[in-house]
Symmetry: C2
Subunit: 265 residues, 2 copies
Amino acid sequence: MNVLIVFAHPEPRSLNASLRDIAIEELEAQGHTVQVSDLYAMGWTSEVDRPDFPALGADDRLMPAGASRDAFKGGTLTEDVKAEIDKLLWADTLILQFPLWWYAMPAILKGWVDRVYAYGFAYGVGEHSDKRWGDRFGEGRLAGKRAMLIVTAGGWEEHYSARGVNGPIDDLLFPINHGILYYPGYDVLPPFVAYSTDRFNEARFAVAAEELRQRMRTIETTAPIPYCQQNGGDYLIPTMKLKPGLEAPGASGFALHQLAPQAEG
Amino acid sequence: MNVLIVFAHPEPRSLNASLRDIAIEELEAQGHTVQVSDLYAMGWTSEVDRPDFPALGADDRLMPAGASRDAFKGGTLTEDVKAEIDKLLWADTLILQFPLWWYAMPAILKGWVDRVYAYGFAYGVGEHSDKRWGDRFGEGRLAGKRAMLIVTAGGWEEHYSARGVNGPIDDLLFPINHGILYYPGYDVLPPFVAYSTDRFNEARFAVAAEELRQRMRTIETTAPIPYCQQNGGDYLIPTMKLKPGLEAPGASGFALHQLAPQAEG
């Protein structure tokens, strides 16, 4: 299997880099082929801006979605973006790895999403009508592939628990797991999260490393998060509201959008 | 009152720019003084990286939190970051304005947060012990000030409703409202969100503009979101779990962290 790791930490001697190397080692030991997009090392440009769209006239108004659509269709996306799209098409599994900064991904990784996720490739795909709203949330160009997050967080695991002050980790990661990975079709695996990373010592690193190795060994077989499918009958279209009764009893907020456990089998 | 608008859109003729200008006009008409940090126009750097910390030795490992702490304490933050911190101290109210891209802020604005929110300024403030966990979530250097978001979203309002496929807008914005604005002490006002902006016409623009003017007229008096306070007795410390019974009946997920309406008065 081909695995792409998109990696976002500025320091080659960081905990993140050590975990990345463990992931690569274990994936290769399992016979997989790994490519890494090391965004800091590549000098990745984070900002969607006019240079992304060389075909846009100097006096044209920059409307990012329309400009992205025209550039994808016309083959005029920049070379750095085209290369990342090629890697996404090559990879059977995508891993995004980053430290959680201010409850979200670092800017450089957000900029990878903003720029690489072109209209016609990651969104604006398929029929848009009163019966379908594009191929997304379970369908799309990346359907059939898997994706997962590897995240480090400075705070304690309890602080990210159901009643923790930061909010539950699954909710904090929902905009990424559901909105960025599930949107263009990926099956999204539960994330690997290392907590309290400000206080890592060798013993704690060894535990985290072994957990990560285990996740890499099972990356082809781990069950994905059972998100509801937009066009599979779970939502009213075009209002896109989840039909009643699909969610786990008492669920609300983001948790609504996963099928209740009993519906899985 | 002094108001800082941090603005993140690449196009000066965009809907976002038009809304920004309306906000400025109305705020000034109310007698307020407005500064704008137009991140694209400023050529803002998005990536936390080694050049942020000129005092760091060439062979030193870059640990972002520690480097930020040393740079803030030693006065060696870069001039662009220092200027933004000065603006935050000047402003009585902060407005972050941006288009919602992939359910989050554009990279350039995330990079403003990542770089400007220095250790010792926006986090790592106050006593850290088993009884307190720093001055945050209701306390901090920016306490007593107000903040709010002005957001544009391409999708329909229903798609961001309680059962909408994108997830509820208040949950999508929670990591920003609670994790970025409330964290260093701001009182966070409900956001202004314009939906379906891909299909704006003059009539819809006029409605949105009037709603925004009304929000700007009441910016000093609008009640903030009643988030629970970390050190005010709402949370168990050091596990940081919300004590039972403070939330609205049946609340879960992010919604837990707001006091139930009856507790407000």
